[in-house]
Amino acid sequence: MEGWIALYIFMLAAFTGIEVIRRVPAILHTPLMSGSNFIHGIVVVGGMVVLGMADTTAEIVVGFIAVFLGAGNAVGGYVVTDRMLEMFKSSDKTKDKG
């Protein structure tokens, strides 16, 4: 990938990340950390690509580990976040604050 374009993507994504979190109330810090933990589970896609390209035994083993760990990150991260957010659902009073 063209280096400068990558740098631009890097910069814009960093600002997006900062903006997204800026106005988050303290009560959502743990769910948010958990949610962002889920989102970097997208690394599983990278794992799949390298496993798909792997030829030697060593490459296949390490690639398998990459997919396994990445999938664990994504699914575990999702379920943990979902369970946390489930708790906010029950009380309707949440609507006036937020």
């Binding site: 997204v20 962002s36 989102i39 990150n73 943990v80 949440t94």
Partner: protein, 465 residues
Amino acid sequence: MIPGAEFIVPAAYFAAAILFIYGLKGMSSPVTARQGMIWAGVAMLLAVVVTFIHPKVEGNYGLMLIALISASGLAWWWARIVAMTDMPQMIALYNGMGGGSAAAIAGVELLKLHSGQAEMVPTTLLVASFGAIIGSIAFSGSLIAFAKLQGWMRKTWRFPSQQMVNLIVFGITILLGVIIFFAGPNPFLLVLFFGFALAAGVLITIPIGGADMPVIISLYNALTGLAVGFKGYVLEIPALMIAGIVVGAAGTMLTQLMAKAMNRTLGNVLFAGFGKADEDAGGSETTGEMRSIDATDAAIQMAYAEKVIIVPGYGLAVAQAQHKIWEMTELLQSRGVKVSFAIHPVAGRMPGHMNVLLAEAGVDYEMIHDLEDINAQFPSTDVALVIGANDVVNPAARKDPSSPIFGMPILDVDKAKNCIVIKRGQGTGFSGIENLLFFEDNNRMLYGDAQKVAQQLIAGIKSLG
């Protein structure tokens, strides 16, 4: 190759990137958070499914499916069965897996480079190696954090000139990275390189304990994001770059917010640690003695109070006492007592940890207050009830300049007319610092498991009619 894959795959990744940011944005309010997560989940599913037709993927589909299904099943099952109180370590565990995945991707890339099947321009090699180091540190560090919070590895472990050793290990890792950069990777070098990077993560994490734990987990979360972003660059998948960097930046901000809530800098958390002060802290002069109270007396004191502030901490989470405490609160309210909850930014093991638990029990948001809002109210409060919180109510933070937590903002429960601390035993908190509050004249200790004590308090209040 499936026709059109060259368009479908990037288009799906693009849609996934949009949905991830939209989902994360939704998490800034409790109302939209759940919906946001569902969209992010859809994005993940979409990205994984189209990757099967990714132009670079040429085989190993069966292995891919086995890895995906077995890991998903295990992670889903474990995340479902753990108690709500154990969520912090689950975040650490799953985060570690993400870091490990990023490191493993780097491993494959470097192996490919060694066997001459792949070519890398110097920038790509540099980014790949950086991603490998960061991912490995996040992996081993998170796993240590998980083991500690899970109780498999309780003590913070320190040895002489630890910082020096850490620095040397980290230095060797970088040096190996530089050798790989110039001389090219070979399997032996790679094993050494990853070994040292993993050791660095372990060494950084073992001396950290107490209230610093959430900060370090948040930091590793940000690091994993960064490592994933770097892998996105190496593999030329912009969606990975965007998702990774957004998480990296948001995680860094969150880490800063958490460190600030404890009046410490990140460098301080990482390198100074509660560590050294721990042993000295035990010696800080504790005048007076701890006085205990039984549940019946405590119940009477609260039932006839005008204003009660409840300060929950990790002990409440461990004992799963949130439902009982809410039941007690409702009883007190029906007697006309004004009850509020005061939550320290780092109460429990994560910021917002207590809020989540209280929300689970059904506590009204209006009753929950931040440190800044409520501290002025303690002098006019009849009873401050501390449930399993320790360091966050230790007046040593205000009074004792030699204390390792000096300067950390605390909840001023010692200023209330009466203070009751529910605690399992006489020991010090997770950080190992003696709590001056326990020796104050207006403080009484109520020993026992928070849930059982809450039950006794409820019975006590009820018996008053």
